[in-house]
Amino acid sequence: MIRDLRYAVRTLLKAPAFATTAILTLALGIGVATTIFSAVNALLIKPLPLMAEQENIVSLEHHLRNVGEEHDLGFDYPSLVDARKELTTIEGIGAFEDTTMIISGTEKPDRYLGAAIQADMFDMLGVKPILGRTFRLDENEPDAPPVVLLGYDLWQQRYGANPGIVGKTIQINGLLATVIGVMPKAWRFPEVADLWMPLRKTNKETARGSFDLEPVGRLKRGVTLAQANAELAHFAALEEQRHPDVYKGSVFRATPLREAYTKDARGLTLLLMGAVLFVHLIACTNVANLLLARGATRAKEFGIRVALGANRGRVVRQLLIESALLGFVGSAGGLLFAVWGVDLMLSMIPVPLPFWLHFDLDFRVFFFALATGLLSSVFFGLLPALRISRPNLSEVLKEGGRTSGGGARGQRVRDLLVVGEVAAALILLIGAGLMMRSFLKLQRAEIGIDAKNVLTFRVGLPPAQYKDPKVAAQFFDRLIPQLAAIPGVTSAAAISGLPASGTGMGAFTLEGEPPPKALQDARVASMQTITPGYLRTFHIPLVRGRDLTAADDASKPLVGLIDQRAAQTLFPGQDPIGRRFSKLTPPGEPVKMVQIVGVVGDVVYDRLTRKKSRPTIYFPESQEPANFMSAVLRTEGAPSSFANLARNAVLSVNKEIPIYKVRLMTEVVKESYWDRVFFGTLFTAFAVLALFLASIGLYGVMSYSIRQRTQEIGLRMALGAQARDVLSLVTRDALRLIGSGLVIGLVGAFFVVQTLRSSLEQVSTHDPLSFTLLPLLLLGVGLLACYLPARAATQVDPMEALRYE
């Protein structure tokens, strides 16, 4: 064995060009596979950090039967309380809410993303603080003294890792809260929270039907997921019985936490994994072809050995050890590529990753790379080894009468491999092409605003601190003119939720309509609070009626704007101006009628990848105040240079209020489909890689076959073939290979791309453009790859070719 290994090392060292090509090819294949595997590992395999017995942790979801499970509504607080009380299969059910937490008091105010959590949630998850304690149940009560748990990073950075921090008070959202503990490093539940306070629900927020919680709980020991879901079905029936107006058609379901976490990315990530395995397969095929070609030159050596009685098993073993050595070195190279690949991949993600998602190269990734290398060495090594170990001795004897074409069988294997490569490359290309087209469409999507030269940032008054909505209204009333007064700012306004970012849904009824029987029958619209000047800032056209003005204040009758889509769907063929509607209010609260005073152009407020045709309604900020708004500034010149001026303007209105999420509006739009760009770019990169590898494969096979056929080509030239005859001979061969590959690839792609359907916007899975242009591209590149060998063929010297010895 050791001797075989030593011999293998020597053999490879003796053929450095072959060894380098093979190893680089393998390293490339293993590198991309390992890079994506690190994502699969992080998403689907590696345990979530810090949580104990995590296979029993479940996320609770709620959807309406007639809407579908992909739209998780979340729980309302009362149903959560019911579930906590009544469910016997799931314990420790708790909810959390992302909350902006502004720490002030000492230096400049800073905005952090915190979470308000059920007091016993961390205990349920099995995470222990490194300092102090977690929350007590009574700290959930609205009147309990405020307490806070700090995240590790916050503790390190803001408090210098002071071990005496527990017991100290800090000012959060205007409240003095006592620090009761510090959570361990890397714990940022639910996603990227830096600190936690107990969830305290006010009466207003706890109305039935305001679904916005995503509870988490733990299956009791010995309870299966199916049992829990059976109980949840019963629970849903009970809730529907008790409150039919809210829970009619409700389905409650428990999903393992990881599954809930990875729902969105899982499919595409696995597809990516499939894509890179294709790429790696193509790489392996190239190596197999290299080995086959090399085998043909070594056939004599092994032919003589076998003829002299060498044991076939030993020959195969020797050859496989050579392959395994290639695979092993390829794995090492692949890991190096992966280190770089993971960095590259992470740099393409513009949003912060949740705490449980870490793309590190842990032992699983390491093992994957190694296993891939060794396994593929069998894949690419076995066939050539078997062929070489069984030389056709009678063919060797026949060699005397030189009738060319004897190696036809070996050539056929190589041809088949290349056909497979072309097919695989085409499938990847078409898949990537569809994704590219989809995201190009998103990029060009008309969202109804002029996003250029607009700076946006988020600013808000924490509701805990500013309970009176009028205070918020006054804040923005003062802020907007200050922003507009900055030299170079041509127009400024604010809106509760920016276009293309998917916020602000609400239900309403038209005047004269009976209120909906159940929530699921309600009319819904994207509802936005805006300040006067919003339309102007984004260049949104006013189609009919009038714009909202500063005169529409709290003392005046309630007014609103609707978009054209709303006008068409709600009032087809009628004039909407003057019509009235009311927001759906919790039972008991008075109904407030809002009059429509204007119709404006359509703007997309959904994330572009989740676009639904929903009407939009705008309210004036002085009548429908919002604590958190996004300011929008249209500027002359580079908008980013106005960030500091804007921050100062905010501080001059209230020195405790920081601004955050400072972005160009164009970036906001782009971020709304970053995942499509991300996956599309990766798919495209892999498809191009596949194309590249397949052309190398074609090049290799063609030049090898031409080398094999030198004598035949020489003969043809002796018989009077002109250069173009030889060229067309070789081209015909290339076309046959590429053509078969393309046909197989087209059929394959037709089926494979169906899996992409849910990730494509406005592109059919049978997009004719992708299905014609990409095969042509592949054909072109393939012919190009064959051009050099073909040209070499025309330069065969018939004399040279026909001289025999």
């Binding site: 030189r402 009738t403 074409g405 036809a408 043809r716 002796a718 018989l719 009077g720 025999y804």
Partner: protein, 248 residues
């Protein structure tokens, strides 16, 4: 055996007025190979003319330049010096495509190792030179059929070369050389890879073709086969040292 010996000078005489035409005329043809800075004079000052209908055999020790001479005659190679006229046209320094065209029309090759293409049937092998001429399919079929009949392989048209014996393969190769009705057949040790029985059959075939009017130039080691020819040229060290014409 009646034979006359001629000096090289005599070979350069103009075509006789008796109506027999000079097909090939070499004048001072020299071939020098340069390998690793070593010059090999494969041919030195060859004067030779071959008339239509002649059957010439070339003999000589190994390495004396027989194959080189045949390559030059077959326009596979160009002489380093000297002139070569074929059917009265100077062909020594033609371009590559021109040479290919003339090879295709005027010259039929028969190789020692047959050089059939394994993936093609007998028919397709014979058809090969005709396809490079852009000949219509029906006409090709007729030409190929005739050629195969002449070598007695008409019944094997659909076979692959690997399904034939060596002698049969060489007959197919002869058919291929004939098919295009070339001005001259060039054969380099056509029996070298055959046993004596098959070898003789091929030689008989060549003799038959000659009797039918074909011009043949053949390299052979075998003295027995050399006798089939009506003219024997001996090469030594790249020079013609003997030219025996059997009196007609």
């Amino acid at each position: 055996m009646a034979s006359t010996q001629t000096s090289p000078e005599q070979l350069t005489r103009p075509p006789s007025s008796s109506g027999v035409q000079t097909l090939i005329k070499l004048d001072g043809v020299t071939k020098v190979f340069l390998t690793d800075e070593v010059e090999t004079h494969a041919l030195s000052g060859i004067h030779l003319d071959i008339r239509t209908g002649e059957y010439v055999s070339i003999a000589g020790p190994s390495g004396c330049g027989k194959s080189t001479l045949l390559s030059i005659l077959g326009l596979l190679d160009t002489p380093s010096d000297g002139s070569y006229s074929l059917k009265g046209t100077e062909v020594a320094n033609l371009s590559f495509p021109e040479r290919a065209r003339i090879r295709n029309r005027e010259i039929g090759f028969i190789f020692q190792s047959f050089n059939l293409i394994g993936d093609l049937t007998v028919f397709e092998n014979v058809e090969l030179p005709l396809t490079y001429r852009g000949m219509a399919a029906s006409e090709r079929k007729q030409f190929v059929g005739e050629a195969l009949e002449r070598v007695g392989m008409g019944h094997r048209a659909k076979h692959l070369p690997s399904q034939l014996s060596g002698g049969q393969q060489q007959r197919v190769a002869v058919a291929r050389a004939l098919a295009g009705k070339p001005a001259i057949l060039l054969a380099d040790e056509p029996t070298g890879n055959l046993d004596s029985r098959n070898g003789e059959a091929v030689m008989d075939l060549l003799k038959e073709l000659h009797a039918g009017g074909a011009t043949i130039c053949m390299v052979t080691h075998d003295a027995r086969f050399a006798q089939h020819a009506d003219r024997t040229i001996h090469l030594f060290d790249g020079r013609v040292v003997e030219d025996n014409r059997i009196a007609a």
